[in-house]
Symmetry: C2
Subunit: 255 residues, 2 copies
C-alpha cells in the first residue's frame, strides 16, 4: 500500500439522532451510494462510539458490512462535554494513523455533516496537511435545509453557532446581529441545545424589530418537520412553541 493511498471520507449522518424517527430505514435519508461507502470502511473517527455502532447497524440493514461490526475500528474524537465550549485543540494527526498507513477512514457526525456546526475540522485540516485526499459525501446539513425552508435570503447568510447563554449578553448579541443582517441583507442562522430552544425563541421575539422576519425550523427531515416564517410582530401576537427534545434552527433577516 503506497503512502498516497487512503482517503478521508466525510460521512453524513441522518438528522434523526435520538428521535423516534431513528427507527426508519437510512435509505430514506442517505443516498445508497453513500451507504455503500459506509459499508466498506473499516476505520472510523466519531464523536461517540456507541452511536456510531448504531449507525453502522442501520447501514448494515441496507448494505452488508465488509467486516463484522466488532472488528471495525471506531475511535472517538477527544472533546469537551456537550455544550457550547470550543473543542480544545488536540493531536489530530495521531487520530489519522489508519489514514497515514494507507487505509480509508470515515469521519462521522452525530447528525448531519461532520465538521459543520460540529467537531472534526481539526481532523480534516490535519488530513490536508498530510496531503491526503478528502471526500465530502453528499448529505444534508440542517443549516442549509433551514435556510431553504425559511424563504429568507439564501444568497447571503451567516451561521453563528451558539449565542451566549447569559441573557444580557445574548440580547446584546441578537441586536448586533440584526444590525449586521440589515446592513448586508444577510440571513443570520443560529442553533441551540434543544432544552434551551424555548428561551432562545423568547429572546429573539423580544429583542428583534417587529418587521424582522424570524423563521424557526423544528425537526428537519423528521415526520413532524415544521418551519414557521413570520415577521416578529406576528410571533408576538401568535406565540410559537418549540419542543425541548427536538433540534431546531433559528434564522432571521432584518428588513
Amino acid at each position: 500500500m503506497t503512502a498516497s493511498a487512503g482517503v478521508l471520507y466525510l460521512m453524513p449522518n441522518a438528522l434523526d439522532f435520538g428521535t423516534a424517527d431513528a427507527s426508519a430505514g437510512l435509505s430514506d435519508r442517505i443516498p445508497l451510494g453513500v451507504l455503500r461507502v459506509a459499508a466498506r470502511l473499516e476505520h472510523w473517527l466519531c464523536e461517540n462510539a456507541k452511536t456510531t455502532r448504531a449507525f453502522l447497524k442501520r447501514v448494515e440493514a441496507v448494505c452488508p458490512l465488509a467486516l463484522p461490526l466488532q472488528q471495525i475500528s471506531i475511535v472517538e474524537l477527544p472533546r469537551p462535554p456537550k455544550g457550547r465550549a470550543e473543542p480544545a485543540a488536540f493531536d489530530a494527526t495521531g487520530l489519522l494513523a489508519p489514514l497515514l498507513a494507507g487505509h480509508d477512514l470515515g469521519l462521522l457526525s452525530e447528525a448531519g455533516l461532520p465538521a459543520v456546526a460540529d467537531p472534526g475540522s481539526l481532523v480534516v485540516a490535519a488530513a490536508h496537511a498530510a496531503q491526503k485526499r478528502v471526500i465530502a459525501l453528499p448529505g444534508a446539513s440542517s443549516i442549509t435545509l433551514a435556510i431553504a425552508a425559511s424563504g429568507l435570503n439564501g444568497q447571503s447568510f451567516a451561521f453563528l453557532g451558539y449565542l451566549p447563554i447569559d441573557a444580557d449578553e445574548r440580547n446584546a448579541r441578537i441586536r448586533e446581529l440584526e444590525t449586521i443582517s440589515r446592513r448586508h441583507k444577510q440571513t443570520q442562522v443560529t442553533i441551540e441545545t434543544p432544552y434551551r430552544n424555548a428561551a432562545l425563541l423568547a429572546a429573539l421575539v423580544a429583542q428583534l424589530q417587529p418587521t424582522t422576519m424570524l423563521s424557526v425550523s423544528i425537526g428537519l427531515t423528521l415526520a413532524s418537520e415544521s418551519t414557521r416564517s413570520d415577521p416578529v410582530s406576528r410571533w408576538r401576537v401568535l406565540p410559537g412553541a418549540v419542543p425541548a427534545d427536538v433540534p431546531a434552527v433559528f434564522s432571521f433577516l432584518a428588513r
Copy 2:
C-alpha cells in the same frame, strides 16, 4: 380537497449538472425516500423546464412516476439570465396556484438545494405567507459540503454569494472579508460561474495575507472531486488550476 392540503416540497438536485457524471444513477446521490416523493409530484416549479424533465427521467429510472412525464406540470420561475444579477421581484403567489388549490408542489434547483445560492426563496416566502406547509427534503448543498471538506471553521461561517466582477471592487471586497474573517474567526465562502473560477482564484491568492488558509473544492460529489486547503503562502509557491467547466467553492479563514 381542503384548503389546508398541499405541501411545498423543496427538492434537492444532484450536484452533477452539466457534467459527464450526470449519466450516473440518482440513487447514488439522492436518498430513495426523496426520489419517491419526486416520483409522485404532479406539479413543479423550477429554473429550467428542460433540465427538470431530464431530472424526472433520472428519477423514473429508480421509481415509476405517478403520471407520464408529458402530463406533469412544469413551470419555470421568471429570472434574469444566468449570472450574478439579483432575481427581480416577481408575483410568487401566482406561481403557487397548484399549491393554493390543494396540490403538492415541488421546487427544484439546477443543482443542490433550491433557494440556497439560487432563486426560489420568494416562492418559499409566499408559501409561508399563505400558511402552507413547507418541507425541505434532505439533500446536499455544495456550500456546507465545501465547509466540511475545507477543514476550516465550521462553527462560524458566512456564504457571500458572488463577489463583484470588477477587479478593483473584487480586490477591495476580498480584503474587507478577510478583516471580517479575522475579527470573528469566521470562514468566508464564495462561488463563481465556472469560466471565472481561475480569475477568482488568482485574485484570492494575490489579495489575501500569506497566513490566511484558502480552500478550493472542485466538482464536489463528482468522481473527480478534489479539495485543496493550504495557506495562501503555499498557493503562491505551488499555484493551483481550477477547470473552467466544473463548479467550484472557495473558502478562506484569516489566522
